[in-house]
Amino acid sequence: MKKVIMGNHALSYGAMLSRAQVIAAYPITPQTQVVELLSEMCADGTLNAKFIKVESEHSAMAACLGASLAGARTFTATSAQGLALMHELLHWASGGRLPVVMGNINRAMAPGWSIWTDQNDSLSQRDTGWIQFYCASNQEVLDTVIQAFKVSEKLMIPSMIVLDAFALSHTYEVVDVPDQDKVDAYLPPFNPPFRLTPDDPHAFGGLTSPEHYMELRYKLQKDMEKVPALVEETGKEYEKMFGRYLGQVDEYLCDDAEFIFVTSGTAGYTARVVVDELREKGIKAGNLRIKLFRPFPFEKVRSILSKVPKVAVVDRNISYGHHGIFYQEVKSAMYGQPHQPVIFGFITGLGGRDITRDTFKEIADYALSKSQAEEEIVWIGVKK
């Protein structure tokens, strides 16, 4: 059934269709509508789940982890400061191999207080062992929640579904909400190999000596490495059942491109307007939107960018003292490859400053006028 819904509600519908059993959440702008709708669904019986209204994001994640270990499918959502407060438990989730699925609305970190979008909140959690999907439409948000549960529960690794504050969270779009029975056919009930039960008592997460700890982390990495192929497999399966393919990346006119914007989140769709304009002028432009950020889709990115002379990586984030984070990642992926494109790094749109058609035009003008990347960071739209 087609509905006009906001990005936040796409997360709620995704969790509902996935039959999340325990939800624990704490309110933070711009996430609130996600959990407001879920609490209504729990209250009126649309969703058979327990909603734990905790007193902090830290407790939200703690409760999700406890419920997940008990064998329940769990969901939560947060943003920025809330995600930062959860940080300790993000490690707990992946280290404990608990497949929680969480929505994170990208919001800039304080101070100064900001409720507007940028990616430093979720990218600061890069090394916590979570799968991260950056979405660009409400449809993709809803579909990816369902896919994420399937991927997470197969590998016992948690997933984060990331969407831009306001640009997606509060933007209404037409979304095809799939039928419950079809989702049930795609996503079987959660049935973990071990769980917290007196019927089969185990101690989970106890003191682990140097003799054992490293193997646990090795196994986590080995399973992380299986994610890209599983995303492809489950994405194709989703396409067969629902008509929409869910991949690691989203390409736009990349096949013959001589210049590619690498983007993430909603900025990718703006880039495509400029791609079309450039093509009208005879410049073979394209857009590679990276959806799966962790694990990094090395093979996909390499196969696409190795044919291209020039790449402009657009970051709505920064690693202070280093560069834009997607820029680092793309450069790292291309290092040592037989063909290395010239890779430019642009930082723009921090704290919710709009990324517009003009932003991409400026980026294109800069990159097309240079034969080498003279600077590691090119700031766009900053008042210096």
Binding site: K50, S56, H58, A67, P198
Partner: protein
């Protein structure tokens, strides 16, 4: 001719805790767990945050308990237990008792927010705090459960603890949860009774257990029970319970309280105290005792 006297054993014989655990000699916390599990039985799940019990249980892949354990983050005993309870119910297990088992640091300090949240929501869990009055697992640093006058590695003799212990029972009673009680390893029948009572109640139940720590208190391991008993007999740690924040009951009436000095002198952590300082502590114990009696009379 003396009449034959028979005592009835009220403590279950079943052992859910095995020997071979890693507790120190004379550890009150290990005895507390053994007794609590005797009362609660095997259909119990325990959430243990960072505390001595995170180690006592035994390193991976060993465990000294015959019940499932979730080793959770320091400040999450109550929130983890809330999640476990919800999760178990959603997978069809409504019978299992969910126990949060934390030290005083994890309860009085870092876990207090999560505990207050769980109590306000009246989560259907038992929260037990075994109180050894400092961060013992990290090497005897003061917590807000450390008593007035005590030495710890962060309250050195020259600057011993100047503030009284936080009134955790008062805080929990103010949440008006169904059941709040104190218990002591020196009174095992009382402790087992309280855990059994707690098990039959729905909602948040909080049990504060006095658990001496010879390593941290600089006391003799063989004095653990003696110290725990003296704590009750001096009125320093009375045995009482509070139902729904309203009904306060003193479980063990002490006709003549022993002087606090008898309790303090057996512990190296109080060795530096002079007579006037001991008198100050006695005054505080007296005031707390009178306040408790008044509450229990109402």
């Amino acid at each position: 001719m003396t009449k034959e006297r028979k005592m009835t054993l009220t403590i279950p014989k079943e052992e859910l805790m095995s020997p071979g655990h890693l507790a120190c000699q004379g550890c009150g916390a290990s005895l507390a767990m053994r007794l609590a599990l005797k009362a609660l039985g095997q259909r119990t799940v325990v959430c243990i945050p960072a505390c001595c019990w995170a180690v006592i249980d035994g390193p991976f892949p060993h465990s000294s308990l015959d019940i499932p354990i979730y080793h959770c983050a320091f400040e999450t005993a109550a929130s983890s237990a809330s999640g476990v309870k919800a999760g178990l119910e959603m997978v069809g297990d409504t019978e299992t008792t969910v126990l949060a088992w934390a030290g005083d640091g994890g309860t009085f300090d870092i876990g207090l927010q999560a505990l207050s949240g769980a109590a306000e929501r009246n989560e259907d869990i038992i929260y037990a705090c075994y109180d050894n009055e400092a961060y013992m697992n990290t090497g005897i640093q003061r917590s807000s459960a450390t008593p007035l006058g005590a030495w710890t590695t962060t309250t050195p003799v020259k600057h011993y603890k100047k503030h009284p212990k936080k009134d955790i029972i008062g805080i929990m009673a103010a949440h008006r949860i169904p059941y709040v009680a104190t218990a002591s390893v020196a009174y095992p029948e009382d402790m087992v009774k309280k855990f059994k009572k707690a098990k039959e109640i729905k909602g948040t139940r909080f049990i504060h257990i006095f658990a001496p720590c010879p390593a941290g208190w600089k006391s003799r391991p063989e004095d653990t029970i003696k110290l725990a008993r003296l704590a009750v007999q001096t009125g320093y740690f009375p045995l009482y319970e509070v139902e729904y924040g309203e009904k306060w009951t003193l479980n063990l009436k002490i006709k003549e309280r022993k002087p606090i000095a008898e309790y303090l002198k057996l512990q190296g952590r109080f060795r530096h105290l002079k007579d006037d300082e001991i008198a100050m502590i006695q005054k505080e114990v007296d005031a707390n005792w009178e306040r408790l009696l008044k509450r229990c009379e109402q």
